[in-house]
């Protein structure tokens, strides 16, 4: 095990009191940012699965005076054409009760949807490798029913996906800013410590210490302070995540995909803490080495 014994006083100076708090806050923010990115990733892939996995085909109703059977025949032809395609797993015509349920928010409960010239809706489920077969579906369906409309839902989702992608990038940006802020603050704190420990460093040099020895003393000291902070940040961040997760469970929405975070995500949370402590240590080491080497 690496000894954290140092020749520098621990805990006495401003930097070692300040670094744990700094690292704790940065780890907390870092955990939230990483969680944000994971949640947005999950939402995006959930939506994208929903978009690529299903297609809705609308068979518009013929003018009101036409025969009901003619409509039925058009729909049957479309279903037959669809099921003939190898990329289609299933094609199911929505029952009128399901259409009533879809319209209920707009027309009110019990509205007689049957009286309206509503299109028939065919819910098509695609096999996994069917992402690029939309054109094929459109061609097959319009061959048998020329005015059929093939909707891959993309129009509905595109703006949401853009917005979510925007949030995701913003969160990555926040994570980068947090990382940079941590590094810069450690540089500043280390320089302040160097000034504070000028006499100690001078004595170490005069008895034959190399710059690398002095730098590793600072690195150990910073690591020790940063580990305390990152442990605190980890605990606070995890509590926040559990609390948000509990709140999210209470939201009932068919709109958001299930946010089932992967094992990789849960492993990444302690890694954020370790990363912050390591970043602080390495930054302190490089700062001391750079500052000492610039001396004559």
């Amino acid at each position: 095990m690496i000894s954290l014994r140092t020749d520098l006083p621990l805990g006495g100076d401003s930097a070692s009191r300040f670094i744990p708090w700094l690292v704790a806050i940065m780890v907390f923010l870092g955990i939230l940012a990483v969680s944000g990115v994971s949640v947005f990733d999950t939402i995006l892939s959930g939506w994208s699965r929903a978009v690529t996995g299903t297609v809705t085909v609308q068979i518009p109703a013929l003018p009101a005076d036409s025969e009901k059977e003619a409509n039925q025949a058009r729909t049957d032809r479309a279903v037959a054409a669809l099921t003939a395609l190898p990329s289609v797993e299933s094609a199911r015509v929505l029952e009128s009760s399901e259409i009533d349920a879809l319209l209920a928010p707009w027309l009110g409960e019990g509205a007689a949807a049957g009286d309206l010239p509503l299109p028939d809706l065919i819910d098509v489920t695609l096999t996994d490798d069917a992402a690029t077969t939309l054109d094929l579906i459109r061609t097959s369906v319009t061959t048998v029913v020329p005015d059929a409309i093939v909707d891959d839902h993309r129009r509905w989702f595109e703006h949401l996906i853009d917005l979510t992608e925007g949030f995701r990038l913003l969160t990555i940006g926040v994570a980068l800013v947090v990382t940079t802020a941590l590094a810069l603050t450690i540089v500043y704190a280390t320089r302040a410590s160097l000034a504070e420990f000028k006499e100690v460093i001078s004595v170490l040099h005069l008895i034959g210490a190399r710059d690398i020895y002095v730098a590793s003393q600072f690195a150990k000291r910073t690591l020790s302070a940063a580990l305390k902070g990152s442990a605190g940040g980890f605990v606070a961040g995890t509590i926040a995540l559990v609390a948000i997760g509990w709140l999210a469970q209470n939201v009932e929405s068919g709109f958001l995909p299930d946010i089932d975070l992967s094992l990789g995500f849960w492993i990444s949370i302690p890694l954020v803490s370790l990363f912050a402590a390591t970043l602080a240590m390495v930054t302190a080491f490089i700062t001391v080495l750079g500052t000492l080497r610039s001396m004559v």
Partner: protein, 252 residues
């Protein structure tokens, strides 16, 4: 005792060599002017001179805390005048310094202070423990190993500083007033330690203005006066007794 092994130094190269060395701070006047000196390996000198004569400045040149304004400084055959920063630690490890104000690290125990030169040289902990313990016992501080400098008396701090200076068996030991804060018995014991290390091959330079000390031990003198250095023979017995008498008479 490991620290009392013979120092391995070739005897044909001067341990310390100054050629036309001058030193001034910033735009001030010369503090040291045109010093020339060559000390053979194994020499023992007192460095004398009035307060402000430049004793500490000369020592700083020798422990590489200061570079000369002109001239060259050679240690153990290496020109260190313009030595690159990265080469300094290796040279400094051959030089042990007892600073006038001790410069102990206040947050470290006596043991850890003395251990520092070994630790920066990456010595093994068991070796550090045995050498430091033995040396602290030698200077009579076996009961103060864990004491921080703040609770030590001036004399005790001085002994810790001396132990730190000699613990890694340097080839050159520079001591700035090393007996200034201790009573006579301890001073004799510390001088004995320096003489012991000298016998084993270390060069010793002790800056002092304690003439009684200089008189009692018959070592050659390096005298700083008017910014220049002259090498003087040991004070003769008659001179010594004269000084001794003068000191005795001065005391009430």
């Amino acid at each position: 005792m490991q620290i009392f092994n013979q120092v391995d130094s070739p005897d044909h190269v001067a341990a310390v060599e100054l050629k036309n060395v001058s030193l001034r701070y910033d735009d001030g006047p010369d503090v040291l002017s045109n010093l020339n000196l060559a000390l053979p390996p194994g020499s023992f000198h007192f460095l004398t001179g009035a307060s402000g004569a430049g004793k500490t400045s000369l020592l700083k040149l020798l422990y590489l805390a200061q570079r000369p304004t002109t001239g060259s400084v050679n240690l153990f055959g290496t020109n260190v005048t313009d030595a690159a920063r990265r080469t300094l630690p290796a040279i400094r490890r051959k030089v042990g310094v007892v600073f006038q104000d001790f410069r102990l690290l206040d947050h470290l125990s006596a043991f850890d202070n003395v251990a520092l030169p070994l630790r920066v040289a990456a010595a093994a902990e068991p070796e550090i423990k045995s050498n430091v313990t033995e040396l602290l016992s030698w200077v009579g501080l076996e009961d103060f190993m864990d004491a921080k400098p703040a609770v030590l008396s001036g004399g005790q701090k001085q002994r810790v500083a001396i132990a730190r200076a000699v613990v890694n068996r340097p080839r050159l030991i520079l001591a700035d007033e090393p007996t200034g804060n201790v009573d006579d018995a301890i001073a004799m014991r510390l001088m004995q330690l320096f003489m012991e290390l000298n016998k084993l091959g270390s060069n010793i330079i002790i800056a002092t203005h304690n003439e009684q000390l200089v008189a009692r031990f018959g070592f050659a003198r390096l005298a700083l006066a008017d910014r220049t250095l002259s090498e003087l023979p040991p004070i003769s017995t008659s001179e010594a007794s004269g000084i001794g008498r003068a000191v005795d008479e001065a005391q009430p």
